[in-house]
């Protein structure tokens, strides 16, 4: 009887030994999720799309592992904890990348805006210098209206930059730059027409 008791106690000890560390790593789960949320908040959807997707997949894999372990008799959450810790560390690393990428995109947008402004100013200056004879008046009127249209588009670039849509701002600024250059060419052609 005594021995049976000993065996039972020993069996229970073995059982508790294997199940005592079977608590789900909720704190690590919350921390990993919070770290991913912080990436999204920092603009990860725009500036770290691939990395964000990878993080979400890693988190999903960790959750799957937890789910799998929760169904086992002898639960082992060690690997899941490691996975969650990696998700958190990776998320923090991705988050750290975003400000530089954002800054880079912002600088590119600002450069494009400056180039567009310069092209616009050049066209405007050329137009102001163009001889306003009877022969060019109509052309000049048309080009003035063209530049007025471009000016409002330049405002839209600034609005896009202000709302942190740097990629959109850059594309628009480059389109304006091209059109402004085309107007400059037209002004030069009109001036040449007068000189002939």
């Amino acid at each position: 009887m005594k021995n049976l008791m000993k065996v039972s106690v020993l069996g229970l000890m073995v059982f508790f030994l294997f199940t005592s560390c079977a608590k789900q790593p909720t704190q690590q789960m919350d921390e990993a999720k919070a770290a991913i949320d912080a990436v999204v908040k920092a603009g990860g959807n725009i500036y770290a799309q691939d990395e964000l997707k990878k993080l979400n997949d890693e988190l999903q894999a960790a959750m799957d592992e937890i789910n799998a372990q929760s169904k086992k008799l002898f639960k082992k959450y060690g690997p899941a904890k490691e996975m969650l810790a990696k998700v958190k560390a990776d998320a923090e690393a991705v988050q750290a990348l975003i400000p530089a990428r954002k800054e880079e995109a912002k600088n590119a947008a600002l450069n494009a805006l400056n180039e567009a402004k310069a092209a616009f100013d050049e066209a405007k200056a050329l137009l102001d210098k163009a001889p306003k004879g009877k022969g060019t008046k109509a052309d000049i009127e048309a080009m003035k209206a063209d530049l007025a249209g471009l000016e409002s588009q330049l405002t839209e670039v600034q609005t896009a930059i202000d709302s942190e849509d740097y990629f959109g701002a850059k594309d628009k600024a480059l389109a304006i730059k091209e059109k402004a250059a085309a107007v400059s060419e037209q002004v030069k052609a009109a001036i040449a027409k007068v000189k002939r």
Partner: protein, 371 residues
């Protein structure tokens, strides 16, 4: 003896526990299809499967999740009972489905890119047509701001398309289309009268009367058609000279008062030959005539014209160049004006109409746009 049996049992329980622990915790390497499927899912996401084929993508994801659950279930089994063959099959099915989805996404993207391309070309052609129309008008600034903005949007759409940002490209095309509509409406407003059959009929009668006058009295008559920007000299009912002309800032409208920059319509006479004038030689017309005065007074009575505004005058046919913009006069290139000046005597009838051709180029463009 009993003690020995108990010890042996204890050892066996311990060993069994260790074996169980070892078997259940040990994770055998999953088949390569698992990793490939996960990689494929990442690729599909990057390709925008959730956007281009949301329903199929959702089904695919469910299938993938099921396969993963199957894998988990299999991993719960003690190693010797695990059957990765079934897992492999499940993931192979997922990979197959993913492959089909990848093709579908590529097809859809290709089709969308083509659609964007054709819409963009269509809008560029429309922009070009309206641009030409705008430049054909005397006042060339109508609708040009909108046309320029539309052009910028079309350029943006081209850039976005090249980057594979099709949805944004489509948005820009929609914006460009709306701007082109605005430009067209502004141009139409200018040309509304030129699409009105009654108005065209009235102008036609005036023109016929002018030609008849030249025929019956074998005299010189000038007929000006503003929309076509033509000045034709008739003698004996036959056109003997044909000149291109320039109009005012607001030349296609009928002049109502001073400063409206419109060119008058109706029957006038040359009342003075001016040389030298501000713009080479000039033929001064008797604007305002009786009809102009009547219209002006009626408009003033209706309060359409402020009391301080006068009816204006000094409407001439002058030189300076047909490319110029006048304040309401008709401008010819200087050599043409020299010739006309020599040809036309005082008192010559000058009939100015909007157009006589209901199928002229500009109206055709607008009708085409309407379709």
């Amino acid at each position: 003896m009993k003690w020995r049996i108990s010890r042996i049992a204890l050892i066996l329980v311990g060993q069994l526990s260790l074996v169980l622990l070892n078997q259940s915790c040990q994770t055998a390497p999953a088949p390569p299809e698992v990793a490939r499927a996960l990689e494929q899912e990442q690729d599909l996401w990057r390709a925008g499967a959730s956007f281009y084929a949301p329903e199929i993508y959702e089904t695919y994801r469910k299938q993938l999740a099921e396969a993963r659950k199957f894998l988990e279930k299999e991993e719960l089994k003690i190693g010797i009972f695990r059957d990765y063959g079934k897992v492999r099959n499940k993931f192979a099915e997922v990979l197959e489905k993913g492959k089909a989805l990848q093709s579908l996404v590529e097809e859809k993207k290709y089709a969308l890119s083509n659609e964007i391309d054709s819409t963009r070309k269509e809008l560029l052609a429309r922009q070009e047509t309206l641009n030409t129309l705008s430049l054909d008008l005397g006042q060339r600034s109508y609708g040009r701001e909108q046309l320029t903005q539309a052009e910028v949007k079309l350029r943006e759409a081209g850039r976005l398309q090249a980057q594979g940002k099709y949805e944004l490209a489509r948005q820009r095309l929609e914006q460009a289309s709306a701007l082109l509509n605005q430009a067209e409406n502004l141009l139409r407003r200018q040309l509304e009268r030129y699409m009105n059959p009654e108005e065209i009929g009235r102008w036609k009668k005036l023109a016929e009367k002018a030609v008849e006058k030249s025929r019956s009295g074998n005299q010189l008559v000038i007929l000006v058609s503003k929309l076509e920007r033509k000045l034709i000299v008739y003698k004996g009912g036959v056109a003997i000279r044909n000149y291109e002309i320039g109009l005012g800032y607001n030349g296609l409208n009928d002049k109502l008062h001073a400063g409206d920059n419109a060119t008058p319509e109706g029957e006038y006479k040359v009342i003075k030959k001016v040389t030298p004038s501000k713009f080479g030689k000039a033929l001064l017309l008797n604007y305002p005539n009786e009809e102009d005065l009547k219209r002006f007074n009626e408009a003033r009575k209706k309060g359409l014209i402020a009391p301080s505004i006068k009816i204006g005058g000094l409407i001439e046919i002058h030189g300076g160049g047909k490319d110029g913009l006048t304040m309401g006069c008709l401008a010819l290139d200087d050599p043409d004006m020299e010739e006309l000046f020599r040809l036309i005597p005082l008192g010559t009838t000058v009939t100015i109409v909007g157009t006589t051709d209901p199928n002229n180029k500009i109206i055709s463009i607008l009708k085409k746009e309407e379709r």
